[in-house]
């Protein structure tokens, strides 16, 4: 993960900005080099979307499920 994305993530965590966390972890997932790292970040995006009741949760769940990482 590049340092700029990392810094934005830390800032979003500190601010408790769930919408930003969903977006930033999704961005990190897209940039990940392998499928495990991709799913790791996608999982975080999904969990924060789930907690926030955000509409992205359904799509993130579907992507993880397609990869065999969710029920």
């Amino acid at each position: 993960m590049n340092t700029r994305l990392d810094a934005r993530m830390i800032a979003a965590h500190e601010a408790g900005d769930q919408a930003a966390l969903v977006a930033l972890y999704t961005e990190a997932a897209e940039a990940a080099g392998d499928v495990d790292a991709h799913c790791f970040f996608l999982t975080h995006a999904y969990v924060f979307a789930l907690e926030a009741g955000a509409p992205e949760a359904a799509e993130l769940h579907a992507r993880l499920k397609k990869l065999g990482r969710e029920e």
């Binding site: 499928v35 495990d36 790292a37 999982t43 999904y46 969990v47 009741g53 990482r69 969710e70």
Partner: protein, 386 residues
């Protein structure tokens, strides 16, 4: 076999001969612990009011007798009570009252639960980025739900899960007040208050359910509600209290009153009743408003009284409501010195539990009889288990 901690033989005799509960029932932490199980965990106890979580997603953590619970209104509007811990590592899930927008996320490893308690996500449980594992069956690992029931907006819980169904356990008092089975509207922020009282919770029940003390402790009532206008209410094994035949509605300077509960019938025009529903809920009904007091036992000698006032309509006059709240607050505050004074008195080693007025104290005796019966049953069960 261990000896029972107290002798209750003379508590369960007739009111003219009985003594009150022995001192240890008010001052001994070991008896408090025993009563926690005998009187509160095994019964339908008052926890909170549904108005504490008015909107779907509202969640309020509570500690009841040391047990962390989560009161929540789920997405469909049903009020539920859960153990406030994650099924993974037993971490507390919700620390402060807040709105659950989507799922309840454990702050430790982020296991997530729906507002209905279903386990919906177990991130990395099978390794990084792998969120499932054959050993983790989500359907078996939902939040532990505490048996609960809403009646008169009070959230009643049965922690051991063994009590009869609420409607069965409370059938008599529900029938007694059937005319009041109508929508109740909490008066809002100005219609709730708490009193911190240095007393065992049972003394608050005992003082509430008898009218004997009214002319002495609440002299302001004498002008319109004399002792002879009151009657005792006793249902042995269930509840006790007192009623009045001269309830007078509060009026503002224009003569306006609160709206009546519709069709409560001629019976309730000037009649009002105040009942202690055992173990720890004190209820009052009048033609135009009602209240619920939930006694929260904090320790052997500390209780918090949570008071909530309700009306027959969602909108009522704010000024009249504030006056009504203040009136009841004054009445309940007038009772503090007696429940705290009786608590101090329980440290006199030679006190025999006291004697009752056979005429005026029978609602209190009814409560003591219930306490003694439940404690005796609990002790017998413990002995049988040994």
């Amino acid at each position: 076999m261990t000896q029972p901690r107290t002798d209750l033989t003379n508590v369960r005799t007739s009111v003219d001969k009985a003594n009150g509960l022995p001192n240890p029932h008010y001052v001994d932490p070991a008896v408090y612990e025993e009563e926690k199980h005998a009187l509160l965990f095994t019964q339908w106890a008052g926890l909170a009011v549904a108005a504490d979580v008015p909107e779907p997603g509202d969640a309020k953590p509570l500690t009841f007798l040391g047990q962390p619970l989560l009161l929540i209104r789920d997405k469909d509007g049903d009020v539920r009570v859960f153990d406030n811990i994650c099924r993974h590592r037993g971490m507390i899930l919700v620390e402060e009252p807040r709105k659950i927008e989507g799922a309840i996320r454990c702050p430790y490893h982020s296991w997530c639960y729906s507002t209905k308690g279903k386990l919906v996500s177990t991130p990395h449980v099978g390794g990084p980025g792998q969120n499932t594992h054959d050993a983790i069956v989500r359907d078996d690992l939902g939040l532990i739900e505490v048996r609960s029931h809403i009646w008169r907006d009070v959230v009643w819980i049965n922690l051991d899960g063994q009590a009869p169904a609420f409607e069965e356990a409370m059938a008599d008092v529900i029938d007694r007040w059937k005319e009041f089975e109508l929508p109740l509207y909490h008066g809002g922020a100005d219609s709730r208050f708490e009193l911190q009282v240095k007393t065992n919770w049972k003394l608050a029940v005992e003082n509430y359910c008898e009218s004997y003390h009214l002319p002495w402790v609440h002299p302001g009532l004498n002008s319109y509600s004399r002792l002879e206008d009151h009657y005792n209410i006793e249902s042995y094994g269930q509840y006790s209290g007192q009623g009045t035949n001269v309830y007078r509605q509060l009026k503002n300077e224009n003569g306006d009153t609160f709206p009546d509960f519709p069709e409560v019938g001629a019976k309730w025009g000037e009649q009002a009743e105040y009942i202690a529903v055992y173990p720890n809920v004190l209820l009052g009904v009048q033609r135009d408003h009602a209240f619920a007091i939930i006694l929260e036992p904090k320790s052997t000698e500390e209780t918090v009284e949570h008071i909530h006032l309700y009306y027959a309509a969602p909108q009522t006059d704010q000024s009249l409501r504030a006056t009504n709240t203040q009136m009841w607050k004054t009445v309940f505050e007038e009772d503090i010195f007696v429940v705290e004074g009786m608590q101090k008195g329980r440290h006199v080693a030679g006190f025999d539990g006291g004697r009752f007025s056979p005429v005026m104290d029978s609602p209190t005796h009814c409560f003591h009889d219930w306490v003694a019966g439940k404690v005796q049953s609990y002790r017998e069960g413990r002995i049988a288990a040994e």
